[in-house]
Symmetry: C2
Subunit: 909 residues, 2 copies
Amino acid sequence: MSAKRKKSHGKSAKQRYVYYFGDGKADGDGKMKPLLGGKGANLAEMTRIGLPVPPGFTITTEVCSYFYENGRKYPPELQAQVEAALGKIERSVGKKLGDLDKPLLLSVRSGARDSMPGMMDTILNLGMNDHVVEIVAEKSGNPRFAWDSYRRFIQMYGDVVLGVQKREGEEHEPFETVIEGIKHEAGVEKDTDLTVEDLKRMVERFKALVKERTGKTFPQDPRAQMWGSVGAVFGSWNNDRAIVYRRKYGIPHEWGTAVNVQTMVFGNRGDTSATGVAFTRDPASGEKVFYGEYLINAQGEDVVAGVRTPKPVAELAKEMPHAHKELLKVRATLEKHFKDMQDLEFTVEDNRLYILQTRNGKRTGLAAVKIAVDMVNEKLISKEDAVKRIPADSLSHVLAPVFDREAETAARKISSGLPAGPGAATGKVVFNAVDAVELAHKGDRVVLVRVETSPEDLRGMIAAEGILTARGGVSSHAALVARQMGKVCVCGASDLRIDYEKKTVTAGGITLGQGDYISINGTAGAVYAGEVQTAPSEVVQVLVAKSLPAKKSETYGKFAQLMTWVDKFRELDIRTNADSPDQVANALAFGAQGVGLCRTEHMFFEGNRIDAMREMILASKPEERAASLAKLLPYQREDFIGIFEELKGLPATIRFLDPPLHEFLPHGHDAQGKLADKLGVSLDQISKRVEELHEFNPMLGHRGCRLGISYPEISEMQARAIFEAAAEVQKKGIKVKPEIMIPLVGFAKELKLQIEVVRKVAAQVAREKKTKFNYLVGTMIEIPRAALLAGEIAREAEFFSFGTNDLTQTTLGMSRDDSGSFLPQYLELEIFKANPFATIDQPGVGRLMEIARDHGRKTRPNIKLGICGEHGGEPESVKFCHRLGLNYVSCSPFRVPIAKLAAAQAALA
Amino acid sequence: MSAKRKKSHGKSAKQRYVYYFGDGKADGDGKMKPLLGGKGANLAEMTRIGLPVPPGFTITTEVCSYFYENGRKYPPELQAQVEAALGKIERSVGKKLGDLDKPLLLSVRSGARDSMPGMMDTILNLGMNDHVVEIVAEKSGNPRFAWDSYRRFIQMYGDVVLGVQKREGEEHEPFETVIEGIKHEAGVEKDTDLTVEDLKRMVERFKALVKERTGKTFPQDPRAQMWGSVGAVFGSWNNDRAIVYRRKYGIPHEWGTAVNVQTMVFGNRGDTSATGVAFTRDPASGEKVFYGEYLINAQGEDVVAGVRTPKPVAELAKEMPHAHKELLKVRATLEKHFKDMQDLEFTVEDNRLYILQTRNGKRTGLAAVKIAVDMVNEKLISKEDAVKRIPADSLSHVLAPVFDREAETAARKISSGLPAGPGAATGKVVFNAVDAVELAHKGDRVVLVRVETSPEDLRGMIAAEGILTARGGVSSHAALVARQMGKVCVCGASDLRIDYEKKTVTAGGITLGQGDYISINGTAGAVYAGEVQTAPSEVVQVLVAKSLPAKKSETYGKFAQLMTWVDKFRELDIRTNADSPDQVANALAFGAQGVGLCRTEHMFFEGNRIDAMREMILASKPEERAASLAKLLPYQREDFIGIFEELKGLPATIRFLDPPLHEFLPHGHDAQGKLADKLGVSLDQISKRVEELHEFNPMLGHRGCRLGISYPEISEMQARAIFEAAAEVQKKGIKVKPEIMIPLVGFAKELKLQIEVVRKVAAQVAREKKTKFNYLVGTMIEIPRAALLAGEIAREAEFFSFGTNDLTQTTLGMSRDDSGSFLPQYLELEIFKANPFATIDQPGVGRLMEIARDHGRKTRPNIKLGICGEHGGEPESVKFCHRLGLNYVSCSPFRVPIAKLAAAQAALA
């Protein structure tokens, strides 16, 4: 992009920076989002398909890049191009900017490639000045509208362009303080009760405030206003909240924003005017209903800001039947044309409908699945489109717990509001972003309770489990952001009384303070005092608990339909990390194709097993150790029998003992004393052994295959348990495919020595049980040396499984457990774009994976490659694994559907 | 080698497996060591240059490889070739194997490419049987010699070929038990007092013993004896002690051994016969004196085994003047021909001299330097040869401490012996290898005290600081091995009374038990009870302490001469790791060319500094932190001034704070209490902070540049201290070249942020002090990601310094501090060939270094590359760094000469 731009700079002075749209024609179109931003591209597209879009023009994102690369200057060609486009608008609407007969008023809005709602600045009613306001008052026959528009313009322009904002020590925004003063003097409570004279006085005081704060008079020249506004919008690309937002959603800073300059239409010209937002389907549930809200006699920001609670869009049918009918037509046109659920802004000016924006609507995970599947069934989109469109992580919302029915019935309901983000959330009440972040950082779950939310609350919303507001509708800031983030949200619970100072919320006769528990049901819109117990989601009830018949759950139906397509498209196998027969059964219910990681050490912690394990660790002679291992053998064998039976012939990757032995011994003095009594050894002996086993950096210590090398008898026991179990299950006619995995290999010889043990035991058991085994032996690639030497290691290994948890720790030299102290700062400073323990660090860890793949396949072309770190269930990492050409990824049972969807998307990419 | 061999197998049946030598002609020559082994090649070479070598033939090392690859079978061609060579011998000496008129007797000896003294088996007097012995007795007129030779043959053959060895429960070797029995019956003490009849009885009992133990009669057929012996020698290549030896000296197992079959000559034919070993120069001191020892009427193994204490070779002039004169001629011929100090074996049979072996003599580090430098001065070899020939590590012997003169004078001398391995050693007395290894493993220094040593003691000798024996001369096993390993050794301290059972040694009226301290001076041959304090070596006294004038020390003279050659040849710069002006001064005295690593944190531990440091760590606000840092600034500045002044314009790589902060806080309750009092804060506050800073894996935690990112004010202070110091030193007209190094970088952005701080402070100080700075900013490459992303990091970094300590830990996923529990086993199992924390793991860590070099230079072709891990002073690693094309290595001051020598050797390779 940047290279291209530079090239065109050099080549030609005729570069086009401004794209006009209006009267059914447009320079741009819907595909030009990188250049025109989402809003600009769609305004052009809507104009082209004949929708009622007020004429305007878009200044491209390239100007934004130029602006930041050249000390906030514009390309020299820009001014002439803007003037030309402005001329077209003026001719189209028969008005002129600053004209004293037919003055043109404009809006100036940001518009990035991806929507960043509320993050950047907007200026409305541009073109107003002391003269124009009089003419608008006269021509419109509505002086109140004219003066209200002027005061809004001064307020927005003053705030955004001139920087007249709250100073330290001030309690309120200065413009708000003026408004409150005037209302007080006039003895009214609502803005709408102010008279024209009040508004005129307000304009005077606003201008005085600007003069006082900036030392300059408020600009009267509409062109100066326009350029000031354009500069402010470009400048807002780099404000704090926009940066936080981009970081959260991984939007590159280089993209920049476009600026849209458009003819104003007014929803605040009286009772024949209105403004609203609507979704072509319900963005929370995905239902195919027209969904939205509007305010009579208002401007757009009134709806989104949540100051007045708007009316459901259905009521428009009664209040403005003509406009409503037009709107329904627009809804149909938009869905047919854009083939996705649309989120649109409209304004009715004197009964005439205008569409100001459309974009693909943000939606909950639940809605994403339902809408995509429904649209396939409606033949609007293909199955491929449906699969590609659903963010893989949204499936976690479909699988996320809901409140337990009985618990919810018994809970104390204190309020209700709009169901704006489905799901169940329980947490401690917090009232601002700072407290939310602080408590969440300490490990508390929190619910953010606000009268309404604004972009300043973003960090708090990210930190919270759920969001509860007293004001604002389903398209309010809170609802919008919650849906996008998949947060549980109830908004507009209007009987909440919130006291920010005392940090209390009162409702239903109960007052909760900061730190008290609250629970919200974002599917039903209910609010409860205290903690409410959760239960599995519908899909989980069908698949795992089998407590709900499949036919009874619509959600399950859509989910199941989606998964059949996903399974058709994907190329990666999806296995699961499971250590017990139960976990295996769950994972298979979610569609896992085998076990990718069975951690055998988890089997040693229960009941008597831990005693035998501890006995083994305390043994000083090989014979004693062998005796303790003999006690452990039957337990392990039973577990493997259970797992093999569940798997019914699917493969199971079984990892040999991995953690350092000290993890199995008690560390407290009392616990050591009890163990001494139990095993009949001296306390001294135990504490001495604990001390011997102490390590400075256990992550890099005596663990993994290093244990098997030191104590081959442990590996022997584990191999014997596996093969004896396999023999027993095979006797029942069930196939068994163990894939034995040696952990922490760095040197080919380590693997060779452990494989010798495995093959020896396999042959012994085969002879003893008169059977044959179909098994593989391989290794984890989890330290950099193993990746670098993969060619040599592949001579021994029949498969590699990338242990990306440890591989990330060693490649980055960064302990996951200890990184908490600097990781948030590293994300903030953009040292890395994403937490490398969540998403594979592709340039570093990913590079080692490539090296291991290349060298491994060179030595052994058919070597099986998989991944079993936490990353195996994270969509971006799954896609990377697909591109790497792995055979499978393995993840926790609940993330199997997510991994499957991501794999299908990668295959379709 | 192996590929070549296979090829020739396939190609031709005429492959030559046997090389004859005799009568001034030889099929082989001295260059054919890989094929003929060292002994075989030199026997051929000596034959060619006319030395008196008994005729014989060599079976090649390829036969050894064939033997192990083909289930201990020989190539089919071998038998005919051996018969042919045997025929040549028979014709040459006029005797025939098994002939009843003129019977030929043979020796069969191993001979690997590199000498492995005493590790493999030897058979002498082969060809003896019940008939031959009678003929030998008759022909030699010396029946005692004949029967003694026969009994020796049965004993050796029985032990080595037939495996008649000590069984469990037996206290002595079975053959020794028979000898003791006969001596008892005869009422004599010495072997030499036995009569012919005694020896005949001994032969009968030996044969009976063989029959009893093996079930077979002792083989009478000389050809069967010969093939049995050849097989046993090949088999001994893989005995335990040979494997241990090869591991210790890095000799590949694939090399194999050759077998030499040679006409016997007898040093035990009476008083006109003798056998001995000699060195052409003193292998301990390097003095140019003929050095060696002999025994009249003995066979070779009597000298080496140390059973009888031999006489110095000078006495041969009196006892056998003719042979001695011949020997002196041989000495001159050998040095002139082989151009190195030779270690030779000779036998005088009836006043006639035979040379049975020559090889380059093992020598101490001291001798290595002296001999090489002397030989250059004698124009025998070139300077290049001298530099290439001296093992780099031998310089550590030249620099190793000696006993403090006063302390030694005051110490209680209890015995004296031969000075067989120079230097000073103090440690706990141990009496066998097992105890030596066990105590050394616990961290004790030990001195191994033995009557005599044998190959079974090898592990114990490796573990010990020094070796003391009661019997054996300077060419005894103990002396030989000690010299080679650079161990301090006193041998033949004949008044020691050693009781293995009680584990005591008594001498000079004192009895020491296991664990008591003993001290030995291997340069003077003195033995002291108790610990004796050490002092710097001569070279160190000249260079560093300046307590000895250079001209007074011959050792210093040789060392200095060598170093001028070394400096001429090497291409790598050698810097030093030094943290204080003192250390810098020492390192410069050793020839360091700058500081490669100055660890700034070491400056924070002394006196008041640690208090300010702790205050800084406990600070909760940036202002408090800044105040504590302001207290540290003057200390750091002073240190840097001192370092820059010492360096006089040489570069100094200064690393910013690296260790995690908790390392600076006290961990015990009491120490925390004292600190609380001192700083006037609550104990609670301190213990809370210690807890906060606790990490599970501190090696991978909040350290390195992560600290500078979290607390940029620390980096600011450090930069300011460096630049203020530089300004001050520059004012004095001394150039200053700081190279500021940011540790633990994994992401380019980390480095960028820290470099911004450095450049900002540099500009500030330059303005304040009205000066300019000539400095670089770079980074350590010490985690794998940094190596993989070196191309990106080089955009910021002006230099890379490989921190191979941490790079090894992360690349291998292995903590140096915790690896003690499995590292010895890993070496034993040959999972790695060398301890990767001592010698760079070239396939793993080295691969990452190559990647970093390639990508780093691609981005920034003139980027400066160095290494500052412990590996920087280890010869193999230095050579690897040369091959990598680094600009410099940095090591501890005392290892600078070693690194220089290794660098020169790499450049000459």
